[in-house]
């Protein structure tokens, strides 16, 4: 073997080792959560790297608790409502920002960008008061309202960049046909924006599904909690005996749908993230 060939081979091997490291980095923690969740509680404290049992008792435990099922339901309700509201308000707003030139447009864009940078804690006390004032404390509706603070700016921002890319002549053709702005949005642009809406909707869904601080602060009882809070608050007899089996089972349960979504919509998510950040 010449030294040149050897160098080639070494580079190739080195590269695949790197790929393997990246894969382990990405997958292992989740994989480990899965195998932990499938262990019987007796074996929990012996470390193993392989899936050597298929015990679903941890899953039975969490699903037999009404509060966890309820939390999943709350999470779904909150996330879907947030996505619907963000898309509805976002599409109309992005039409205005992306296609109409008017005074104040830049200011509005800056305000939106500013809001997306708000630390959530900064509005916590004021928002708490608003939510209590509206009678929405300890109610998923309060979460839906408060989640618009981070989903709405993002949705508007990304949809605006997509809106801008639609050809001007298409809108002018609609104007010639007598379409009002509202008709143009609903009949002409919306059908063309579905991919963008799916992307932003998905990202907003993930953000809402994962939110923790507001959910922790604005809910009180088990029946109103969302999944992240429910998982964070699972506790055992004492601080030092956390029920790791059920916790991992719950973690896997709420993550699997997300992982599947991400795998399916990988391309869209990437384009959405880059549209929000790079082109913005």
């Amino acid at each position: 073997m010449t030294s040149r060939q050897f160098r080639r081979l070494a580079t190739r091997v080195g590269f695949w080792v790197l790929v393997a490291v990246v894969l382990i980095y990405a997958i292992f923690p989740f994989y480990y959560a899965v195998i932990t969740s499938l262990k019987p509680s007796s074996e929990l404290f012996t470390v193993s790297y392989w899936l050597d049992s298929l015990d679903v008792s941890n899953y039975v435990t969490i699903f037999s608790q009404g509060s966890f099922v309820r939390a999943i339901f709350n999470s779904i309700l909150v996330s879907i409502s947030v996505v619907a509201i963000a898309l509805l308000l976002g599409v109309t707003a992005s039409y205005a920002l992306g296609r109409v030139r008017f005074r104040g447009r830049t200011t509005v864009m800056l305000v939106i960008l500013g809001v997306s940078m708000f630390p959530q804690v900064a509005v916590l006390s004021g928002l708490f008061e608003v939510i209590r004032g509206l009678g929405l404390y300890n109610n998923p509706a309060g979460l839906i309202l408060s989640y618009t603070i981070f989903t709405l700016p993002f949705t508007v921002w990304v949809l605006t960049t997509f809106m801008k890319q639609l050809p001007m002549e298409l809108e002018e053709a609609a104007i010639m046909d007598g379409a009002t702005p509202w008709v143009t949005i609903t009949k002409v642009f919306l059908p063309l924006m579905w991919p963008a809406m799916a992307t932003t909707g998905l990202l907003a869904f993930i953000a809402a599904w994962n939110e923790f601080l507001f959910a922790l602060t604005f809910t009180l009882t088990d029946s109103q909690r969302t999944v992240p809070v429910a998982i964070a608050l699972i506790s055992g007899g004492s601080q030092h005996e956390l029920p790791w089996g059920p916790i991992m089972a719950a973690s896997v349960t709420v993550t699997v749908p997300l992982v599947i979504l991400v795998m399916i919509f990988q391309r869209r998510i990437v384009s959405g993230l880059t549209a929000g950040a790079v082109k913005g």
């Binding site: 308000l89 940078m117 804690v121 006390s125 004021g126 599904w209 602060t217």
Partner: protein
Amino acid sequence: MTTTTTLPRAPERARPYRGTKVRRQRVRAAWTFLAPMLITLALVAGWPLLRTFYFSLTDGTLSTLGDASFIGLENYLVYDNGAWYGLLTDPLWWRSVWNTVFFAVVSVSLEAVFGVIVALILNAEFRGRMLVRAAVLIPWAIPTIVSAKMWAWMLNDQFGIINHLLMALGLIDSPIAWTASATYSMWAVIMVDVWKTIPFVALLALAAMQMLPRDCYEAAEVDGIHPIKVFFKVTLPLITPALMVAVIFRMLDALRVFDVIYVLTSNASNTMTMSIYARQQLVEFQDVGYGSAASTLLFLIIALATVAYLYVGRKQLQLGGD
């Protein structure tokens, strides 16, 4: 119907035109479309922010929000009986400021470095590349709480796989209490955050890399320049703008970090950040006035960082444009 009179006109001095009815209608429609969004944002962001500012000047508590009384800047700083009190004198507050900055700078730097490395790997042509790319998104998609819990389990001092692995490899003699020890807990938190956010940085860097012109690379290859040199001389400078955007986003995110740390180490002072401090005051100690003061300072720090960034960014743009 309107009758338009043809006015005598001075072509040099363009008359500011009012626009036709069509244009005015369009602008009106634009504001109508914006209104629901702006109202919502005002309700959930603008007004609460103002109230937080106001609360920070009162002695309100969670149960007596309505009739809090105005106490000026006492929550921030007050001289009473020969001693200074208030947020600005609280060592724990300053500790949490330092923790936040340390956390943000270290984790974002690590994310940038590893993010670019991962992006370089994903940018190479190899079989199964799309699969690896999808896999890399997993840490990003996992809810922060869940990833914190997973890592808490892996970092468990007695039964955790990390300690097990390190001991099996002979790197450590006795288990480390990762999330409880003063030395390691901050690093444990940083590690989890870096793990979770590398994908974001990597994807943005990858998107930038894929937009780079191919001919630069072909030219470099023809000239026989070493790939590492090509990376530092060609790739890195060209992806820097996109990378900066990712870093800024991440920085603003890291400065308000709450959930990872809250789940991994709770309210421990070793890892307490500004957000955790503020929330503890607000919710656990029910001291809305004091907690709002902390929130306000956090907001001001982030706002300042943003403005500074925008200012520097614009400066650089202008310099670059000349």
